[in-house]
Symmetry: C2
């Protein structure tokens, strides 16, 4: 909305505010049931006193356009709608409530909405700080792109052959032998999960994942009606999978290298136990390997590299290591599976950005990517050391954690179960954004996912100072 | 697969072919049930005689790795799988058959798979010929992009504010008054339909569309379990919608300007009839307006421009007029609807390519787009005239059509119902790709969607010569 009010004398500020809000309602921008911003926010945005806003809202309430709900501010009135408009508009809220896809959890939506606001200190963000993104090199590399007209058309179902060939070469280096028709380019690994969900699973299938899991913070499987169950890569995994998955289609999702959110990598034994169990039970494994290039020291090869039976669907991405804005990732799988997923992708978005695919291919082919990834790893390692010291100084008495082996995250464990929604909100009010453990493991009130990759040193210190204060506050009043 | 065989004397060509195919099966690239390419294709690819291929396949059949199905070639055998592999792989075909998302119809998959092959003459393709894409200007414009590091991160849920502002300005010019929070950037209009489908409709909702409809060639609603019903923008529309939609959530989809596939635009009366009916019944309208910039003469404004009740969801795109490879489109809707769709998009692919968004914003802001669109319209008009003359000369006695008012398509109507799957396949075998009417209207055997926008003049002539021959063949033997 245009927040700037005019200062012409015959339009009072109050009348102008009334007109602006009425206009939004008339145009259907604010539908029945929409909650208005808080009075203090409206006052700030319009640049007027709060009393002027209050008077305007009172007028709108008197006209029946707004209504108050106890303790939670002003809403666009449902009943008054018809009075204002000649015709009624569709009941959007009912549409939204009844629809197929689940809404993001409230905390996750608050995080998504707050992240673009630069006034927040982001202590948990799962992406690289702008200073770690090779913006200048990317800009320069645009000059080297040779766009030919064919590449600007609709993509082939599997994605650009040039990019798939570059990915194939990269996979060879990891011990994965794939052909271009075993590779489908996707708009990031999240889209890969979405395609697998609707393209390979039936309604009511079981998806196994670790108990603290990225899959709890996004819902590609839940929204398609899958049943989510946890497993641990321990000796009883086969029994668990067999018992829980009985009679249903199943799939197992894992991030064996640098798990999100815990930062842990599976050891040789854990990998073998899970792979063998899945082999015996014919359960496909989705190996989400998007953090691989951020391992500080070379780790174990991907599970896919020793997959002799084609049961591993392997996911890679440039989002964590080059630029999330590229939206480029890939799935590696047997060719009939790839053909199926590509078919679903064609029905979903007709392929990924040709520009992004050209840039990605250029970076992989030219060595720009390998060089950048090497520098990035050492910068991330330096950040991790700094973060550990800062955590030790400020939270050492309240929490413990493992030294990270790569990637972005430290899975901070508080000794007391203080990380609840109130804790998150208090920090949000103080402009510190954390990723609480409960968005990854619903019953977890002990952890937060701390990211070393986003906040600057100064921000980290200020953020941790505030975090410390709120920890102390929670501990001194456990009922909050 | 690596098709190049070595000429070392101790590896016969037959043994090498056996080894290559075995390897593909072992790696799970060719799963049980996969159909092998035809013998003549394998022979061509390997560069050997067909008899060598046949001998290799016979050997693989004897080993139980392949099996023959009568009249349809060689398949990877299901039973032999276990013999070859120590462990069995997941039954991918079962996964695929049982999964949530519908496969594309066979004809559509054949079209998608054949389009990238340059040996085909594409008479129906719904995209601009490479020569109509401004590849050079796009390449040059990359030099003017200023990528800052923030734009390379994950997108805001609604998409880049810069691009939304540029879209907003464009919408103003069409009489649509929107705010940036009424706009969500999507990866093309097809993704918009996908988001609307899972974000605003419940399972079993009714989606109304015209009888020849783009929605029959993609399945964003069908795959989410919606019931598809047709309507006509005639005087009985209200009755039809009321009767058929009774007791269910409904939505109406239309392309009022230059419908795909018919190329028709609604007149004033048709627009009003549909809008009023939907208003009365509170049925949201999806106005798919992706062809607007290709109208040869200014048409009626978008329905959205006179939508006083916020019931129209408006879709725009740069795919038809600038570059499909950009994958950039937008949805315009009331802000609670936009917030919901953006939330679903964040769960689907975390936003569209930042690079594509920057390029799109730059083209819209700088006037490059407006200038290009103007030139494109006159080129398309010239192509349409040429196509009409060529059609008249070759098919004038067999078919009729309306002179196009813009866009890509001529909805060619054959006087006899000859456009069946056999007709399509015969043309496919002769390397002429058409878009038969039955992919847009299942019972239609009269039409093909002829596109003026893709084939060159020479290709159009050669393609139409072949088309004419096949038409005559069909007419002389109506039982084919």
């Amino acid at each position: 909305m245009d927040w700037k009010l005019s200062s012409r004398p015959h339009h009072t500020l109050q009348a102008q505010i009334v007109a602006r809000i009425t206009e939004r309602i008339e145009h259907g921008d604010w539908a029945a049931g929409t909650r208005l911003p808080a009075q203090r926010e409206l006052a700030m945005r319009f640049g007027v006193n709060r009393s002027t806003v209050q008077a305007a809202l009172d007028e709108l309430k008197a006209d029946g356009l707004l209504e108050t709900r106890q303790g939670s501010g002003a809403y666009v009135s449902g009943s008054a709608w018809n009075a204002l408009l000649a015709r009624s508009q569709p009941n959007w809220q009912r549409h939204i409530r009844a629809s197929v896809h689940r809404p993001n959890r409230h905390t996750i939506r608050l995080i998504n909405e707050s992240e673009p606001d630069p006034s927040f200190i982001r202590l948990g963000t799962g992406e690289l700080s702008p200073e770690l993104l090779p913006a200048e090199q990317l800009q320069r590399s645009l000059h080297d792109l040779k766009l030919d007209a064919r590449t600007l058309g609709y993509s082939e179902p599997l994605g650009s052959l040039r990019l798939r060939s570059a990915v194939r070469t990269r996979l060879e280096g990891l011990g994965i032998h794939a052909q271009p028709d075993n590779i489908c380019i996707v708009s990031g690994a999240l889209q890969a999960l979405q395609l697998i969900s609707v393209g390979l699973l039936e309604d009511g299938s079981t998806v196994f994942h670790e108990s603290a899991s990225y899959l709890n913070s996004v819902h590609p499987f839940q929204s398609a009606g899958m049943r989510m169950l946890t497993f641990r890569p321990g000796s009883d995994v086969q029994e668990r999978l067999a018992r829980a998955g009985r009679g249903r289609q199943s799939l197992l999702y894992a991030v064996p290298a640098l798990n999100n959110p815990t930062g842990r990598s599976w050891n040789e034994k854990e990998r073998k136990t899970v792979y063998d169990a899945c082999s015996d039970l014919r359960i496909p494994i989705v190996e989400d390997d998007v953090y691989r290039d951020l391992l500080f020291a070379p780790g174990l090869p991907p599970i896919k590299a020793s997959d002799s039976s084609g049961q591993v669907l392997y996911l890679g991405s440039l989002s964590k290591s080059l630029s999330p804005g590229l939206r480029i990732g890939w799935i590696v799988a047997p060719s009939p599976v790839i053909a199926r997923l590509a078919d679903v992708k064609m029905q979903t978005d007709y392929g990924s950005s040709a520009f992004s695919q050209e840039i990605a291919a250029h970076w992989l082919e030219s060595g720009l990517y390998a060089h950048h990834a090497e520098q990035l790893r050492s910068k991330l390692q330096a950040r991790a050391s700094f973060a550990e010291q800062a955590l030790h100084d400020r939270l050492g008495e309240f929490a413990d954690w493992q030294t990270p082996e790569g990637g972005f995250y430290i899975w901070l464990r508080f000794l007391h179960p203080i990380v609840n929604k109130g804790f998150f909100r208090r920090l949000l009010d103080r402009k510190v954004l954390i990723n609480p453990g409960y968005i990854y493991a619903p019953d977890d009130l002990h952890h937060i996912r701390f990211s070393c990759a986003y906040a600057s040193q100064e921000e980290m210190i200020s953020g941790l100072d505030i975090l410390r204060e709120e920890v102390i506050r929670s501990l001194s009043n456990p009922n909050r």
